[in-house]
């Protein structure tokens, strides 16, 4: 029993990690590769979830909703890039923070205007619903296993894109010197629009996939945003590998912390106090881990350009 619980929690940690990676993948693409702090990433995540919920409700098919989430988020990303973001590449981080902070407000209130304040309904497709037994574990939700699969695929695909293709090289070149890559004949503006749309599509995908497990409502993107930042900063900005490792570290620490800390404290404190104190510590845990990592590795675990 104990062993099976431990095993299940490990798997939960892994799964949470992959889920976080999904959320962070688009961010690390935009942030690391284009050097842009995009606080509106969470909003694009929300766009994906909303698009999926609305379209799934209208058509009755989660899968069409999923496709819609990709399209809508990519389109929203491309529009935002075209109207706003492309004026910000040469600015310092501060201007980017403010502009994308403004975008959060616009997206959130805009979404409320259109969809109202109540949470939307989005459920897991029948194909993936229910739980299956795994070796050592009584039952594990199929959908969560599917998320692990999708996360791994996205990680691999992104890695190939960035480090193995010419497109990836150009994007990275643009990060180090935009003017120069343009002077060599590469249409970096369009390229960046494409990358931004891609990053947004990933955010939208995450929103739709994770939205089916969580509450689809205005403001759902904000906690995700912070977590995603924590993940990519621990891993080292701009590194897909770093984001993956960071996500796994955060996922495991958070899950195991939530589970173990109260039990450990329970050995010395009364149950109710131990639960509360343990939970407080667990809530702080990922930030503590992040501070520790950065204190010793100021550029994250896998700094992209070292």
């Amino acid at each position: 029993m104990i062993l099976s619980l431990a095993l299940e929690q490990l798997l939960n940690g892994l799964q949470l990690g992959v889920m976080l990676f999904l959320m962070a993948a688009g961010l690390t693409l935009i942030f690391g590769v284009m050097g842009l702090i995009n606080l509106a990433h969470g909003s694009l995540y929300m766009v994906g979830a909303f698009a999926c919920a609305v379209v799934a409700a209208a058509t009755g098919s989660f899968w069409i909703g999923l496709a819609a989430s990709l399209v809508c988020a990519a389109a929203a990303g491309a529009i935002v890039e075209f109207l706003v973001i492309r004026r910000l590449y040469d600015r310092d981080h501060l201007d980017q923070v403010l502009a994308t902070f403004a975008l959060i407000l616009i997206f959130s209130e805009g979404a409320r205007w259109v969809f109202g304040s109540f949470p939307l309904y989005l459920d897991i497709p029948p194909l993936l619903s229910g739980a299956v037994p795994l070796p050592g574990i009584e039952a594990y939700p199929l959908y969560r296993l599917a998320i692990i699969g999708v996360g791994a695929l996205v990680a691999f695909g992104l890695y190939l894109l960035i480090s193995k293709t010419r497109l990836g090289m150009r994007i990275r070149a643009g990060e180090s010197d935009r003017e120069m890559i343009a002077a060599l004949g590469v249409d970096i503006r369009t390229l960046y629009t494409v990358v931004f749309a891609l990053g947004s599509a990933l955010a939208g995908l995450a929103g739709a996939l994770v939205g089916a497990l969580q509450s689809v409502q205005v403001g759902m993107g904000e906690p995700v945003l912070i977590l995603a930042f924590v993940v990519i900063v621990i891993g080292g900005i701009g590194s897909i590998k770093g984001a993956l490792v960071g996500a796994l570290i955060v996922g495991l620490t958070d899950t195991l912390g939530r589970f173990l800390l109260p039990s450990l404290l329970g050995l010395i404190l009364p149950a109710s106090t131990a639960g509360a104190v343990g939970a407080s510590l667990a809530a702080m845990l990922i930030y503590i881990v992040m501070a520790l990592v950065l204190a010793f590795r100021p550029r994250g675990l896998f700094p992209a350009n070292a």
């Binding site: 409320r112 949470p119 039952a139 959908y143 969580q214 509450s215 906690p223 149950a271 407080s280």
Partner: protein, 356 residues
């Protein structure tokens, strides 16, 4: 004689759904009364305490309101109500009811038209005694969460499988669900308001764990049920109001609300509706400038509440009946149905500390 009411509630941000229901319930009562002397000024607090304070200041200082109301969240209420009372203004709570204001810090100008925060949890504790021996209880790690589990334990006599506090705003519950599976509990009591509850219920339904779930009514009230979907079916919850309660006032209220706003009312709407009714009834008897008389008129609670019986305790919190409900599907719509009455004329545990 004119009365100015300041309605501060959450109309933007993640918790806006509750605020919208609060506002709509309140305005419905005002509209039905046809009372032209009453002006209501509504403002959005965006769920930020500082902003709520600023708006309250503005309403008191510039708009010169007589009564404040509408706040959904305990932390915002704590920021606004005591200081409003200190400035001689009435505060009528439509939802938030922190223990602090029900006990030693009670105030003759502070009325609560909803409940005391612990009430619904206490009811579930009492209900659990009937069928279950070993219960897994869980709530977010903040004062309202702790109050909730304390309230539950106040009445629950059986064994606790575990007492778990989750992170505020947590979205993933896989770890807790695994613990539930391993704990061998025969039921789960979860207090997870808003988005947290939606996430938990959806994930729980997927997990293959079959242990029955129960919780306080507002976790399964009409505003969140559609988002949870069928995962909520069969959940037991407690509430001082249920849509199908059999009384005259309720039979008028539900269709009226539906007609006006095109959706089913939630608990928040009812509470706000009653708050408005309380103010209206007092206004017909006394001048709001005469705080003593007006307060006494309020305390008389001469209203027809959709909850049925309604009266005030010595600490100006309600004494009311509390029911257990079950989530069912009616005409393809998820809603709550009354199962049984669990408390009759229930007050709260803090009234004894209130010396007014």
């Amino acid at each position: 004689e004119p009365i100015k009411i300041g309605l501060i509630t959450t109309l933007s941000g993640g918790g806006a759904g509750l605020g919208v229901d609060t506002r709509d319930g309140f305005m419905l009562a005002i509209k039905q009364s046809g009372n032209k002397d009453i002006t209501v000024i509504t403002e959005d607090d965006a769920q930020k305490p500082e902003l709520a304070v600023q708006i309250a200041d503005k309403m008191i200082q510039s708009d010169q309101v007589d009564i404040l109301t509408g706040i959904v969240w305990s932390n915002l209420l704590m920021a606004v109500a005591p200081s409003a009372n200190a400035q001689g203004k009435f505060y009528v709570s439509t939802n938030a009811a922190p223990a602090a204001l029900a006990g030693a810090k009670c105030n003759p100008l502070y009325f609560n038209a909803a409940y005391q925060n612990d009430n619904l949890h206490e009811a579930m504790g009492e209900y659990a005694n009937k069928d279950y021996k070993k219960i897994f209880i869980m709530a977010p790690n903040y004062p309202a969460g702790k109050d909730s589990l304390t309230g539950f334990k106040r009445y629950y006599k059986g064994e606790l499988a575990a007492e778990v506090y989750t992170k505020v705003g947590q979205a993933d519950y896989a770890a807790e669900i695994a613990q539930i599976r391993a704990s061998g509990a025969d039921a789960v009591f979860a207090f997870l308001p808003g988005g947290m509850g939606i996430s938990f219920m959806k994930q729980y339904a997927q997990s293959g764990v079959k242990t029955p779930i129960m919780g306080p009514g507002f976790s399964f009230s009409q505003d969140v049920l559609p988002a949870i979907g069928d995962a909520a079916l069969g959940v037991k919850a407690s509430g001082q109001w249920v849509k199908d309660l059999d009384n005259e006032a309720n039979k008028k209220f539900v269709p009226a609300f539906q007609k006006e706003y095109g959706r089913l009312p939630s608990l928040y709407a009812v509470q706000a509706y009653d708050a408005a009714q309380l103010i209206l009834s007092a206004a017909s008897k006394a001048s709001v400038k005469d705080t003593k008389a007006f307060g006494e008129a309020m305390q008389a609670a001469d209203i027809q509440s959709p909850r049925g019986k309604f009266k005030f305790n010595t600490n100006l919190h309600p004494i009311q009946d509390i029911y257990v409900t079950e989530v069912v599907k009616e005409d393809g719509l998820l809603t709550n149905k009354t199962v049984s009455k669990i408390f009759t004329d229930h007050g709260d545990a803090y009234a004894k500390d209130c010396k007014m």
